[in-house]
């Protein structure tokens, strides 16, 4: 199993540009998450999904959109990039069932810079 994969690894955007961060998991996990990590701030939840066709906002959803058309994929869309969105983005997944939801498996991250 590849686990959770993210593309791209690095990206530089200009202000106002848009892009999609890709996330795929091959563990048949129902739950998927997007976090951003800023230095000294830990991880902040952007959006999450409890299954295909279901998404919900996390702590910091403004400026982002998500979709979940399949169990495997959970892309994160930035429509109008702003410097405040410069961060490292992590995708994670976990399985259904109480104890399964409690361990999240993380991808390697996407480092995004908005100039």
């Amino acid at each position: 199993n590849a686990g959770v994969t993210q593309t791209p690894k690095f990206r530089i955007l200009k202000i106002g540009q848009s892009m999609t961060l890709q996330c795929t998991q091959d563990m048949n996990h129902n739950y998927m998450y997007w976090y951003r990590q800023d230095p000294g701030m830990g991880l902040k939840l952007i959006y999450y999904s409890v299954g295909a066709g279901i998404t919900d906002k996390g702590e910091v959803p403004n400026g982002y959109n998500v979709s979940r058309s399949t169990t495997e994929d959970f892309p994160l869309r930035l429509e109008l990039a702003a410097p405040s969105q410069t961060s490292v983005y992590f995708c994670a997944s976990s399985s259904a069932g109480t104890s399964g939801r409690l361990e999240q498996f993380f991808g390697p991250g996407t480092r995004l810079t908005v100039l």
Binding site: V4, G42, L45, L102, F106
Partner: protein, 114 residues
């Protein structure tokens, strides 16, 4: 609302010395507690977790953490650190009735000094 506090942003320690990384949480309901580790340029991975039962939990690489309900703490300890333990460590909490979400602390960077 639940929250997690890691008071130390960085902890330097000499190789083979003991270390304790502190974590305190707040919640009005029962919680599950976790320590995740992030090695340089990698994603987070679960180090250990407390769900129920014995309050002392251990990882495979020598770390342990003890759930202390009265002090609302879940400190991480290792009796003798190795250079390979250099990483950032995140404490996290999930409430029993909202176990689809985990709240992470701000992290503690462990520096191992030769």
């Amino acid at each position: 609302a639940q929250s997690v506090t890691q008071l130390d942003s960085q902890v330097p320690v000499f190789e083979e010395a003991p270390v304790e990384l502190r974590c305190n949480y707040s919640s009005s309901v029962s919680v599950y507690l976790f320590w995740y580790v992030q090695y340089p340029n990698q994603g987070l991975q679960l180090l250990l977790k407390y769900l129920s039962g014995s309050t002392l939990v251990e990882s495979i690489n020598g770390f342990e953490a003890e759930f202390n309900k009265s002090q609302t703490s879940f400190h991480l300890r290792k009796p003798s650190v190795h250079i390979s333990d250099t990483a950032e460590y995140f404490c996290a909490v999930s409430e029993e009735n909202r176990d689809d979400k985990i709240i992470f602390g701000k992290g503690t960077r462990l520096h191992i000094l030769p």
